[in-house]
Each structure stands twice: as C-alpha cells, then as structure tokens.
C-alpha cells in the first residue's frame, strides 16, 4: 500500500501513464459485415499500479493489450501514453508474450540486446545493460546459450529480460505464465513482484492479461473482468492487500470468490435473480468444453465430499482444473441446465444429479435431450437433417450460417464443438472425409 502511495506522489506529470478512450475493434468477416470484438472500452492505468485483465477466451483481452501496445490500430477510439497519442509501438512500452517469442537464431544476449540495438545504443553500453538485465532476471551464465537449449521457464525469463532492458515505463504482459508449469510460473511471478515491490525496475505500471484468477489476485491492484460479444469491461475488482500476499488470507479468498462469481455468471442465467433464463440464439458462442470432462466433473460433483455442491476455487484446486478449463465447463453445465453457479459456488440441479447417478447409456440419453432442448444450434442441425429427404447436409451449410454471427475461426470452433457434442449424444453423425452431417445408422 505504502509503496503504491509513494509511487503516486512521485509522479511528475499530470497525464496518466496510459489511457484508452472509447476503444473499439472490428474484424472484417468474409461477407464484409464486420464483427465487433471490442466495444467501446475506456481504461486508465494509474501511476504505479498493476492491473490484471480476466475474461473468457475470445473476449478480446489480447486484442485490447495489442492496441495498448500500439501493435494494432483500433477501429475507433484512441490510446494515449502520458498524454501523447499512440499510433504505433512507442519507446517506453514493452511487451512480454505468451509464447515467449524469442528469436531462435539469436543467443540469449542477442535477444536481450535487440531492443537496445534498435534504439541505436552503442555496442559497449548495450552489452553492459544486457548483461545487467540478464543478471537481474537470474540468468547469468546463460548469455551465450540459444533459446532452444533453455527450459520454458528460462526462456520466459529471457523474454522478461528483453522487455526490462529497455527500462520500460509500462510493461504489458500477455498471459506470460500460462505456458509454464505451476511451480515455475509461481517462482517467476514472485521474482517479478519482488523486482516491482523493491523498485529495482523503473517500470511505473503493469497491465497483465491472465487466465488464472489466483495469479491475478496475487499480483494486481485492480482486476478488470472482460465479457465477450463484444469484449468490454463488465466489472472491476480492487485488491487492497499489501505484497507479499498470502493465498490463505481470508480477504484474499473472498476476492477470489468474488472474481469467480463475476466470471461464471452466464448472461441472463444468474440464479440469484430467480429470473427465467434468457434463451440463447443459434449463433451463441458455445463454450469449448469436451464431453468427457463434463461427464467426469458431474460424476465428481455427485459424489462425496461434494454431494452436489462445491466451492469453485476449492473444486478447481482439488480437481486440478485451470480457469481456462473450468470456465467453459461451468458454462456448458449451466447451458444444459445441469447446474447453477452463483456466488463462487456450484450446485447440481435435478437433471445434473440424474446424470451423475445414471449409467453410461442413460447419460448419453440425458445429454442428448438437454442438448436438443437447451442448445438451439444442436436442435437446428437435427431439424434440418430430419427435414431433408436424404437426411444429409454438408457442414459448410451450417458454417455459413454461423459466420453471420461469429468470426470465421470462431464459427469453425463452435461448429466443431457442437458436432463433437452431437456425435457423442448420437443425435447426428458426421463424416470427416466428406464433411457431411447425417442421420446415418440411426
């Protein structure tokens, strides 16, 4: 707290480090209608704070971060860096990518020096600063190694060193720990937080896109929740806890619960309000949830110690589910009417309990019924196949329909998802060679 306050007072300029005003981004679809991925986002990064962004996949978080970095141009709105408009990459803003994005043909030193070289820093100075940055990030001894000789964790350290060596004013992190194992991720995160808290880096603000709720609560002073279609900030959760934070702290747990609640609320399906669920359309962005996992989760929830009810952070921890895996599963459970999620808790409905207790064949039947009843796209495909004389239809037909609502890749993903569910439920068959849906064999 005190450190944050101190940072605030030492600010010399009045303009905030980073500010986004009415940012929108539209991607053009094949039929030139355009799909809004980001809808009018306002955002201010204050001096000396870490802001974490959480949200479902496809909520435009990465797009938002790339626009802040000046790597993507917004369709509308603008970004200001210390009062100056951002129209391309600016000195002072550095970014770390999920996939590390190291150049395989450059050594660790070469990668770290690259940004300085681009700024025209002299060779001797470059070397001195790069070696220092490598030292700070804990990689000394590996200067002449090539990235592929290093483990994932060490590669990401190189990537951090490359960002830090240019003394960035603002650091943008795009899920930087998501490709690392839990232990490595935690170590690297703590090392970064130490640098930040002890002010060994001159950075005045960090924006991190994350897929891990605990990570966000551990790091951030403020958490923004993004909702999709189009991506926008749907909620903001301040975290007033001093570093280092303890996950066992009740306040920490309470914030985690709160974030879970915000993230798992399907629009119009908030059980607390007691309202009838709003119907979803054919073009609904179905969650990317595999049936096998759904089945396993329902079974677990039906048994001891849960008996149909669980605390979400606890469940994720016990069953080793990342937020990226858990959120789509929860959404599907709610869509199918198998469970209600509220206040960071999950509770099985009657249908959900019935499923959990049934044998494999009856489970398929229950799943099929729910799919037809609750997922309009599945029902639509089945209806078209029923009505056609040959009971066959090319997948491309439905893909085109979906592309009216979704981007090309999303349409493909949604169709693949529903085909997967439909095949499992045996409400239709699919020939992968011909890409034809049919009612063959039943």
């Amino acid at each position: 707290m005190s450190l944050v306050a101190e940072r605030l007072t030492t600010s010399s300029t009045t303009a905030p480090p980073l500010r986004a005003i009415g940012l929108s981004k539209t991607y053009r679809t094949p039929d030139h209608i355009g799909r809004l991925v980001l809808g009018s986002v306002d955002f201010t990064l204050r001096e000396g704070e870490i802001v974490a962004i959480l949200g479902k996949s496809g909520a435009g978080k990465s797009t938002f971060l790339r626009i802040l970095a000046g790597l993507l141009a917004p369709s509308a709105g603008r970004v200001e860096y210390r009062g100056e408009p951002v129209i391309g990459p600016v000195h002072g803003i550095a970014m770390v990518f999920q996939s590390f994005a190291l150049f395989p043909w450059l050594t660790v030193l070469g990668n770290v020096e690259l940004g300085l070289e681009a700024q025209g820093v002299s060779a001797a100075e470059r070397r001195r600063r790069a070696v220092e940055a490598i030292d700070v990030i804990g990689l000394d001894g590996f200067e002449t190694a090539y990235p592929k000789e290093l483990s994932g964790g060490m590669q990401q350290r190189v990537s951090f060193a490359r960002a830090l060596v240019v003394n960035p004013d603002i650091l943008l992190l795009d899920e930087p720990f998501s490709q690392l194992d839990v232990l490595t991720a935690e170590t690297l995160r703590n090392d970064l937080l130490d640098l930040w808290v002890e002010r060994r880096i001159p950075t005045k603000g960090i924006v991190i896109v994350s897929h891990n709720i605990e990570e966000a609560v551990d790091m951030a002073d403020r958490i923004l929740i993004f909702s999709s279609d189009p991506g926008r900030i749907s909620a903001e959760v301040p975290v007033h806890l001093p570093h280092p934070r303890s996950p066992e702290d009740p306040v920490f747990r309470q914030i985690v619960d709160q974030v879970y609640t915000l993230l798992t609320t399907v629009p119009g399906r908030d059980a607390r309000r007691g309202a009838k669920p709003e119907p979803i359309g054919v073009g609904y962005r179905l969650p990317d949830a595999p049936v096998q996992q759904l089945s396993a989760l329902l079974e677990k929830l039906g048994e001891e110690p849960y008996n149909g009810r669980a605390d979400l952070p606890h469940l994720a921890d016990e069953e080793n589910l990342t937020t990226d895996e858990l959120l789509p599963l929860l959404e599907l459970l709610q869509l199918l009417g198998f469970a209600n999620v509220s206040g960071g808790d999950i509770e099985l409905t009657m249908a959900g309990r019935r499923y959990a207790e049934a044998d494999m064949l009856s489970r398929k039947q229950i799943f099929a019924e729910a799919l037809i009843k609750q997922v309009p796209l599945a029902a639509h495909i089945r209806r078209v196949l029923d009505e056609r004389p040959g009971h066959r239809a090319p997948a491309a037909r439905f893909l085109r329909e979906l592309e009216d609502h979704l981007s090309e890749e999303e349409a493909e993903r949604v169709l693949d998802t529903v085909i997967n569910w439909g095949r499992h439920a045996e409400i239709f068959a699919y020939d992968d060679d011909d890409r034809v849906l049919s009612l063959e064999n039943f």
């Binding site: 790339r66 970095a69 790597l71 391309g88 990459p89 000195h91 803003i93 550095a94 970014m95 990518f97 999920q98 996939s99 994005a101 150049f103 395989p104 043909w105 450059l106 070469g110 690259l114 940004g115 070289e117 681009a118 700024q119 090539y146 490359r162 240019v166 893909l399 493909e412 060679d433 011909d434 890409r435």
Partner: protein, 578 residues
Amino acid sequence: MEQRWGLPLIAWPSRLRPNLWDLAALPLVLGALALVAWGGMAMGAHYQLGEPLSISLDPWRLPEYALRTVLRMAAALVVSLAFSFPYAALAAKSRQAEKILIPVLDILQSVPVLGFLSITVTGFIALFPGRLLGVECAAIFAIFTSQAWNMTFSLYQSLRTVPVELTEAARMYHLSAWQRFWRLEVPHGVPPLIWNMMMSVSAGWFFVVASEAITVSGQSILLPGIGSYIATAIDQRDLGAIGYALLVMLVVILLYDQLLFRPLLAWSRKFRSDADAEEYDVRPWFLLVMQRARFFDLLQSTVLALNRSLDRAIVAGSRHWMPARETQPPSAAAIRLFDLGLLAVASAAVVWLVAFVRQDVSADEIGWVVLLGALTALRVVILIALASLIWVPIGVSIGLRPQIAERVQPIVQFLSAFPANLLFPAAVVLILRFDLNPEIWLSPLMILGTQWYILFNVIAGTAALPAELKLVASNLGVRRWLWWRRIMLPAIFPAYVTGAVTAAGGSWNASIVAEVVQWGDTTLHATGIGAYIAEYTAAGDPARIALGIGVLCLYVIAFNRLLWHRLYELSIERLRLD
C-alpha cells in the same frame, strides 16, 4: 468399415448406386481410358531408322501431339514411382546397401538429364528393332531421369524418419515387414513424395521438349509430341507456331495441376500427423467429383477388395520369410570386407573411365574442359546471386501479406512448372536484334525456369514466421537494415537455402540447352561446359560426352558438398523455427 469391403459387389450396396455426380465423372474416366489406349497403339507403330518422321506445324495437330507428350510424361512418372519404392526401401533398410545406393543417387542427381539421353538412345533402339518403341523408350527414359531422383530421395528420407513410437507400436502388434511398409512407412512418406512428384513433373516438362527431338548417329528423329513441334517450329522460324505450342502447354500444365496434383495434395493431407491438417481447407473440384460420384466408390471398393486379398496372401506367405524383427547385424569383419570390395570396384571404374577418355582426349583438352566448367560455375553463381537480390525482397514483401501470398503462390508454382526453354527463341531474336554479346546474354536463360524456386521458398519461409515474433520486433522498434539483418534474413534462411539449391541444380542442368541456342539456321554459342556437352552430343563423340558429363558432375557435387550442404546444416542447427 471392414464389413463393407467384404460385401459381394453384385449385391450393389446402396452407397454404390449411381448418382448425379457420375454423370460428370463417367465421361471423364472413359474418355481418358480411350485416349490412353489410342496413344499406346501409336507408340508401337513401325519405324525404320532413317525413315523421316514429319511433324506438321498445323495447330490442329497440337492436341494430338500434346496427348502423346502427356502420355510420355505419365509413363515416366509411373516408372519413377516403380523405381523409387524398391530403391528407397532397400537404402533405408540395409546399411550395406545404403552405402552404395545413396552416393550413387547423389551422383545420378548431378548428371545432366540430357547426358543420359545421348548415352542410352542407341541401346534402346537396338532393343526394339523395326519399331518406334525403342525411341519412345529412350525419350521416356530421359524424362524418367529428370523425375526419379528427388522422389527417391524424399521417400528414403521419409522411411528413415518414421516416428519411433509408431514403429514400436507396429512391432508390438506383430506387423510383418511387408505390412509395416505399406501401413506405416509409405503413408508417412506420401505427403513429401507428392510434393516431390510435382517438382519432378515441372522438371519433366523442361526436358520433354529436348528429349523428343533426338539425334542418333547424325540422324535426327522427331517423335510426335509438343517437343518435336517446337523443335520444328524453331527450325522453320515460325513464331506463330511457337505461340500455339505455348498456349497448349499452358492448358496441359493447368490440366495436370487440376486433375492430378490438386486432388493428390488434398488427399495426402490425411497422412499428415500435424495439427494443421485439421483446417477447413478447400477441396479441389476434381477430388470432390471423385469422392461424390458412386462410380469411384465402386472402383475404390474393388481396388480395396483386391488389395485386401493380395495383402492377406502376402502376409500369410511373408510370416515365413520376412521376420518382423530386424535381422542380426553382420559382423565388423564382414562390414570391412564389404567396404574394401566397394572401394576396389569404385577405383576400377574410375581407372577405366579415365583410360576410356584418355584414348581420344589430350590432357590439355581435359584442362580446357575443367576451365569451361569454371566458366559455367561462374555463370550459375552470378545468376543465383542476381536472382536472390531480386526475389528475396519481393518474396518477403509478398509473404508478409497473407492475402496476396495466397493468390501469388499458385501463379509462382505454375511459372516453375512452365518449360522456360519455350521462350529461348525469343531470347535469340532479341540478342540478334540488339546485337548483344551471347556470352553474357544467353546466361539468363539458365535461370529463367528455376528462379521461381527461390521466390516460392522465400514466400513460404516468410509466411511461416510466427506472428508474435513480428510483433516483438515491432514492439522493440526494430526497423530497416537491423530488421533485415536480425530478423527477416535469418528467418527465411532455411527456406531460402532449399530454394537456392533447387535453383542452382536446375541451372547446371539447363546449361546444356541454354549455352547453345538455335533459331532457324542461326546458332548462338556461349563458352561453357554445357555448350561443350551439347556440341559433342550432336557430333556423337562418346569419350568427350563422358568427359563433359564427368566434369560437370564433379562441379555439381563439389558445390553441393562444399557450399549448399554446409549452409543447409547451419540453417537446420541454428535457424529452424520450432
């Protein structure tokens, strides 16, 4: 699935009943069969050496000539496949055989294609006295030599790189060596093999033009085909006829692409194990017709049924003589003995070859030929450098724009398949018109057809650069020369080397037709080893042909070993993106 194949075909299962797609498919297939039969008959026609074969320049005869040429190409492709499978299998399976087969293949690859023709044509004619078939065989053999080697190499490499776990799985389930070959190793090799077939056919188009007009013992034989048509047109200085030939060639290459390679490529995707095979790719229309038409289902089930019984028979038999397990490796002494024998045979061959050449050729002339080789080498090096200077920046800027790259790729592919020698007469006309020095201005012809490999590979290499690496460069503010030096050039280097190797190899090969170019009774000469070989091939001087080809081979091998191979190793070690 299993059951369906076993069904008796007379029962006419519902999925085999004809449908609308058959309406399109059947005429296509029956027509093709009739054409093949007719062409085959024409090949067997009577012929006596010395009998003049006249080629008419009437454009209406062109479709017929084109068909004859296409059949020759197809025959050569089939022979190439038939050669590649056993050769690659043997080289991949036996360490002893590998020691001979792979260097031999390396040398065969560097022998100029037209060199094979001049050496073998008399033998083929003697094989079928009184028939045109001998000359046909010589032409097909020449095309075969332009197609086979890289296909064999690609198959050999695939066989060597089958994922270990798949091999282990195959052994755990007791697949015999025969089953393993067809169920695992060949499918693994299919996608690269098809890419190499496409390249082979491109090379074939280039040499078909040269191999149909053959000179034997001072007599020129013109096999009916596009190549002979062009040769005649060049002889008679008929630019109009060359224009027609160009047009027909364009159509033929387009048909080959649409009817054979697009479907093959799409089909081969299912053998790929990587994830991007999952994409919703566009299906070529011809594959669609084939997959939709019931006629092809019928054909497929018949073939599959046949294949199954064959397989069963061979499996039953092979259990006895083909163990699934690797046989005991031979002892160290046996291996040394084998190596010594190999060395002895190789030395004897070299001594004999030198003696054969030295009978007719003085040491001074040998020195002169080596110098000629150096001249041609100089041309190749300069041309590759020039082509790189032009095409690397263009390729990169295309590769950075995916929408444009998508549209440009098929055009470049088409250009690389187009036989550039069709354009040679135009070069002669230009050189004469502007009174240019043929020593310099004939050189670009060597790279006319092969430069596209550089462009093609650079585009592909650029497009393969992960988006995040580009973003990092942009975020760090890396621009201009630093951007080329640190990012783009290293990124495309592996792809560039692949393209440049192909382009250089093609240029060496093309030197034989590009250093001596005719237009009517005007002949332009450039000094070089290609011209030397071409000259003595026309004169029929075996010792000097052998000398020329031998020296050319040495140059090509030296370049491959000392330059390209090292660059390739370097690029694999340092620069690969994965």
